[in-house]
């Protein structure tokens, strides 16, 4: 399989053009979905009988946590493709995913903490899921550190890919260990962020928010990929033409 040398310049240039074409639509779709989801979740959905209105942060926390896992998988898969087939575009996707995933993880942690305050009175609990998210954040930061630590961009992407793949194997182990540890130390079997059996009126805004986050991720990923593509192909004629056009 020799895709790597197949019109290699054209491949990156086409990705750049594709990104430019798609991002306005994705931006529009994200805004609409966010509007729909936030109105539906924050205003229209019925209040939870136990938690009142404070549960509404779930509409940001749950999609953010979901995305943090999803983006890690995407980063690891792209990294695996980059290692096996040495495709530049896979390296670029992997590199671009890392800071985005870290941001989602951070958002999940902050919203999780905010959710916890009215419920348990403290800003942080050593809940299994929240602790796993914290460890995931460190895994992301490690990958980002590796991306920057190597002088050669491509080698940095591949090193990050190896770490991401080691992380992917570890994530289920970490998750299970932390859950086990959490039940051991808390004694009670109340899982703090347990999924309630969710009513359809609450579910629809949640699904809309997840779609909104997905669109937003696709949008920001394509934007990040553009700058990575320019960096990867900096010596190519199309990039030089582009910078001339923009008066750089």
């Amino acid at each position: 399989m020799n895709f790597a040398f197949l019109h290699k310049y054209a491949a990156l240039m086409h990705c750049y053009r594709l990104s430019r074409a798609l991002t306005p639509w994705l931006a529009g779709a994200s805004v609409l979905l966010f509007a729909w989801g936030l109105v539906g979740g924050l205003l229209l959905a019925p209040a939870d009988y136990q938690q009142g209105d404070s549960f509404r942060i779930m509409y940001v926390h749950v999609p953010a946590a979901w995305m943090s896992m999803f983006v890690y998988m995407a980063m690891a898969v792209a990294g695996g493709v980059a290692l096996i087939w040495k495709l530049k575009i896979a390296e670029i996707v992997s590199r671009a995913c890392a800071p985005l995933g870290a941001s989602f993880t951070f958002l999940a942690l902050v919203t999780g903490s905010i959710w916890g305050k009215p419920m348990w009175g403290t800003w942080w609990v050593w809940d299994a899921r929240l602790t796993s998210e914290l460890i995931l954040l460190f895994l992301y930061l490690g990958v980002i550190a590796l991306h920057g630590a190597l002088d050669d961009r491509r080698a940095g992407a591949r090193a990050g890919a190896v770490l991401a793949l080691i992380g992917v194997v570890n994530i289920p182990i970490i998750h299970y260990s932390v859950e086990w540890w959490s039940t051991l130390h808390q004694g009670s079997t109340v899982t703090k962020f347990a999924k309630p059996s969710i009513h359809i009126d609450m579910l629809i805004p949640l699904l809309v928010m997840i779609s909104a986050f997905q669109c937003y991720f696709a949008w920001t990923l394509l934007v990040r990929m553009r700058s990575e593509i320019l960096a990867y192909d900096r010596n190519a004629s199309w990039v030089r033409e582009l910078s001339r056009e923009h008066g750089a």
Partner: protein, 210 residues
């Protein structure tokens, strides 16, 4: 020019960080030839050798060894004697321990004992002294002993004459000549000039347009 054996390079391009080190580089190194990769420091000689040795993946171009593309040449590593400019000697161990370790792990077959190889490079006298106590020239001779130690038709040498005095330099040049005599291929990357009985094919690197 026989493309079916020896090394053939076509349209090689390597970028490192921000720079294009070389582009559209092509040359042949058939059996019984001596190739001089010539260029000033920083012209990409070391990266070229690393690319030919399979450490660096080129951004474009192909490398063929004995008619097959390098990535598919299964026993290429067993046919290569690569002497980088770092030497590969651990300072706390002595020459014999260092060479024994490399020989145990590497794929190329041995064709001489370690002591014989060191003798050929006039390095037997300090074979059992830890490398940290050897001078730069002595270390270089121990490093070059790998050329005698392993049976390998293709030699790639990165600045092999570093730190060698006049006599040692002549010794190494004669070893290289003997290898070419027996049908081997030698690529030497150096900014220095060197002498040989054989015709030297020069591949200039600084002149290759990026």
């Amino acid at each position: 020019m026989n493309h079916d054996s020896g090394l053939a390079v076509r349209g090689l391009r390597v970028e490192r960080g921000e720079r294009v080190l070389f582009d559209a580089l092509s040359f042949d190194a058939p059996p019984a030839s001596l190739v001089h990769l010539q260029g000033a420091n920083g012209s990409g000689k070391t990266t070229l050798l690393k690319t030919l040795a399979g450490l660096v993946t080129p951004d474009a171009g192909e490398i063929h060894w004995r008619g097959e593309r390098l990535t598919r040449a299964a026993d290429f590593r067993a046919m290569l004697n690569y002497i980088g400019h770092q030497g590969g000697l651990n300072a706390e161990l002595d020459a014999i321990e260092n060479l024994d370790f490399i020989a145990t792990l590497c794929a190329a077959p041995r064709r001489a004992t370690i002591v014989a190889a060191l003798k050929a490079l006039d390095a037997a006298a300090f074979a059992e002294r830890p490398v940290r106590y050897l001078s730069a020239g002595q270390r270089q001779r121990v490093t070059l002993a790998r050329l005698i130690l392993f049976e390998a038709p293709l030699w790639m040498l990165d600045e092999p004459f570093t730190a060698l005095d006049h006599a040692s330099r002549a010794l190494v040049e004669s070893i290289i000549d003997a290898h070419v005599d027996s049908g081997g291929t030698v690529l030497i990357a150096t900014h220095q000039a060197f002498a040989s009985r054989h015709a030297i094919r020069v591949v200039p690197l600084s002149d290759t347009p990026p």
